[in-house]
């Protein structure tokens, strides 16, 4: 396969990162391994002592693990919908960020189901999900759906990377015998032969087309686990689309954050530009409005009817001693702040600096400030959406329809123990570690796709010049 100068330039840029590991990278990886190790210790501790070491009890049988599960699966579904849509619509500026989206999709859906396993009291009965699963149960649908989605994500990412494996194989610029051997195996003899090119594009289009409805369906199925249960705050007809938009909202925010991190770390100004942030920022703004609309619908209807059990839940959510602050953060700050920051140009472009006198001065500045504002909004969104998932699961379980039999405080009110904190932190740590390791194996910017994108732009420019002439 021909590796032209542009591709060589890109490979050269990533070669050091792929081949070697700097001191900081080693420290970062070690830090993540320590966090994950602590999580594994917490898991073993739980297996030895039982779930009594968590905050879960008779009523709150699903704790923060399920909130984490929904959070990670949401990120994965959103990534898949984004990647599929960008590809099918042949969005020209997509190539620089496609790898980030595809990778975050796969890693999220690999981590999410682990939290379900942590919730299972008897792991030895895990196989019962398959041997005794009932088709009528949304849990069974979810098990089938998650397995299908993981398979789809693996295939989609692999198809997208095959051509880059071939480029890396033929470039001879990446050292390491074993690494080149793996590139050779994974590139499946790809040589850019027209039939191969056609096949791989067709396969990618099929996967892109199929992964969008799968993601929407799976996100909806996930919502049905709650929506089809007669519990306050869960039994809702809009939970399906609500979950889809919540997933998209948090997933888009995550992509923005990862783009920013790699832009700064790898100095990818040539590939990831302000344009990318502005476009994804606009998408985030639209999703914030849609998600806010669903949120208002959801709470307004139950507040207006004020049915007995719903009212109990609402009272908990609006109680300053219980969930008020989390509720405000998840449903007001997490929606309104991004809308204001991204939607109002003055807020988006402003920059706050501290003068030597200690007085805060606001200057108007474009460029980096816009990117920073959008990334700040994205961080708020990701945090708010995690809190939102917590608020979906816990307060409802603390509001059972039958009287609570055991009146001990820990049975009435759920609170996370160190075990749950350790395993909750281990999830994002695992995400970061897998992302770091993946980008040490292939470039974070798709070489072939970016090259094609550049060529298309050049052709368009040439045609425009010819027309003008």
């Amino acid at each position: 396969m021909k590796v032209d100068d542009r591709k060589q330039k890109m490979i050269k840029m990533f070669a050091d990162r792929i081949e070697g590991t700097s001191k900081w990278e080693k420290a970062w990886i070690a830090f993540l391994i320590i966090l994950i190790g602590f999580g594994i210790y917490a898991f073993v501790y739980t297996e030895i002592h039982g779930h009594i070491v968590t905050g879960m009890r008779d009523n709150v049988v699903w704790g923060v693990y399920i909130a984490n599960f929904i959070f990670f699966m949401g990120l994965g579904y959103a990534g898949a919908i984004l990647a599929g849509t960008l590809r099918l619509l042949r969005v020209k500026w997509r190539s620089s960020i496609m790898r980030i989206i595809e990778l975050s999709t796969l890693i999220s859906v690999l981590i999410g189901p682990i939290y379900i396993l942590l919730c299972i009291g008897r792991l030895d009965r895990l196989t019962h999900l398959f041997t005794h699963g009932r088709i009528q149960s949304p849990i069974t649908w979810d098990v089938l759906a998650v397995l299908t989605f993981i398979t789809a994500s693996v295939i989609f990412l692999y198809l997208a990377v095959i051509r880059d494996f071939a480029i890396l194989r033929d470039s001879g610029m990446i050292k390491g015998k074993w690494r080149n051997k793996i590139y050779k195996i994974l590139s499946v003899n790809y040589n850019d032969e027209p039939r191969q090119h056609k096949d791989i594009n067709l396969a990618l289009d099929i996967m892109a087309a199929i992964i969008i409805p799968i993601s929407v369906l799976l996100s909806t199925i996930l919502s049905w686990i709650f929506g089809m249960t007669l519990r306050p705050g869960w039994n809702s007809t809009i939970f399906g689309p609500y979950f889809v938009f919540a997933s998209l909202y948090s997933g888009t925010a995550l992509v923005i954050i990862i783009m920013f991190i790699y832009l700064k770390l790898y100095k990818l100004d040539e590939y990831i530009t302000k344009k990318h942030f502005e476009r994804l920022g606009t998408l985030l703004l639209i999703l914030a409005a849609l998600y806010g609309y669903f949120t208002f619908n959801e709470y307004f209807t139950i507040w207006y009817s004020f049915e007995k059990w719903d009212s109990e839940l609402l009272i908990k959510l609006f109680d300053l001693d219980q969930y008020y602050l989390q509720f405000i953060f998840a449903n007001f700050v997490g929606i309104l702040l991004p809308i204001l920051i991204i939607g109002i140009p003055w807020l988006r472009t402003m920059r706050i600096t501290l003068a030597p006198t200690g007085v805060t001065i606001i200057e108007k500045k474009t460029g980096a400030s816009t990117i920073n504002s959008i990334v700040f909004s994205a961080v708020i969104v990701v945090l708010a959406l995690w809190v939102k998932r917590y608020l979906i699961v816990i307060p409802t379980l603390e509001t059972p329809l039958l009287p609570i039999d055991d009146l001990r405080p820990e049975y009435i009110r759920y609170s996370m123990t160190w075990v749950e904190w350790a395993l909750t932190i281990a999830g994002p740590a695992m995400f970061c570690l897998l992302f770091t390791l993946a980008t040490k194996f292939f470039p974070i910017i798709p070489i072939r796709d970016f090259d094609e994108e550049e060529k298309t732009i050049e052709n368009v420019d040439l045609q425009t010049d010819q027309l003008k002439a």
């Binding site: 009932r134 398979t151 295939i155 499946v188 003899n189 790809y190 009146l407």
Partner: protein
């Protein structure tokens, strides 16, 4: 001058003494006052004690501890309660900790004898805490016996109840003015079916025919004399096939196939799932086939 000086000294001494007495008195009053206040802070503890004769050979004592806070009863938790028996209430049965609902139950071991009149004496004692006053409650009970006869006639089902105590000569003495409750156990407590007063130790109670039983149609019937001043709680439980047999036979019946709650899923659900899964996985298969084709084309080109 000298006399005046002496007088002054005496006055000063007298004043000092008076002041000292006043100070001492103030101290005593203050200390007593604090003590009174401390005593006032102790809440009254409410102790309830009940006796249950289960008629299966087991007898038990149940007690509950509570106190009042803002005119509401609050259960006492994590405190020890001692149960005693004997005429002088000095034979310790057991000391147990009350549960989260402020309740404790002990099974009375054999060997605790009644007095010559056949009366048993029991007590529960709570030592008190820094904030709760100590409390004790004693009861005296006699043993009674309940016998049930189940009658099934064409016009319905009835339960004949016979209740009596045995006197010192071993003669049966019928119970009077006690009420017998007939109930069946449910998931969240016993469901009262009917009740009737005893007359000369007997009563007859109607029983419905439409109650669901277990898979064999068996029902547990609970006959109970509740909170009697003389006999405490007397409970007799018997099993009889007077209920309607329920699942799984019902589930497997021809009327219930393909429902959400049956083993077999609704047909449309199975079809939808099969179509969805086949559709998706066949696309995966096709894409994987394409990957192998790419590999094959590449291999051919290399040759």
């Amino acid at each position: 001058m000298h006399i005046n000086q002496n007088k002054m000294e005496i006055n000063i001494k007298s004043l000092m003494l008076t002041n000292f007495r006043l100070a001492f008195l103030s101290f005593i009053i203050l200390a007593f006052g604090i003590n009174l206040k401390a005593q006032e802070e102790l809440s009254r503890t409410y102790l309830k004690l009940s006796y249950t004769n289960n008629m299966d050979g087991t007898k038990s004592l149940s007690a509950s501890l509570s106190y009042k806070e803002d005119k509401k009863f609050v259960q006492v938790q994590n405190q020890s309660l001692s149960f005693y028996s004997g005429v002088d209430l000095d034979e310790l049965i057991q000391t147990v900790e009350v549960n989260a609902k402020g309740e404790a139950t002990v099974v009375i071991p054999e060997g605790h004898e009644a007095d010559t009149a056949g009366i048993y004496f029991y007590a529960a004692k709570f030592k008190g805490t820094d904030t709760l006053k100590r409390a004790s409650k004693d009861i005296s009970v006699k043993d009674a016996t309940i016998e049930l006869v189940f009658n099934q006639k064409s016009d319905g089902k009835t339960i004949s109840v016979k209740a009596f105590e045995v006197d010192e000569e071993g003669e049966e003495v019928p119970l009077n003015e006690e009420v017998v409750n007939i109930s069946v156990p449910t998931l969240f407590g016993d469901m009262l079916i009917n009740k009737a007063p005893l007359e000369e130790g007997v009563c007859e109670i109607q029983f419905p025919s439409n109650l669901p039983g277990d898979s064999l149609g068996d029902l547990q019937i609970i006959a109970k004399i509740k909170d009697s001043e003389i006999y405490g709680n007397v409970v007799k439980i018997e099993k009889i096939p007077w209920g309607k047999p329920k699942l799984p036979q019902h589930l497997e019946s021809t009327n219930a196939k393909g429902k959400l709650w049956t083993h077999n899923a609704p047909f449309w659900m199975v079809v939808t799932l099969v179509i969805l899964m086949t559709g998706v996985w066949s696309h995966f298969g096709y894409v994987i086939y394409k990957i192998f084709r790419i590999k094959k084309i590449g291999a051919e080109q290399m040759k």
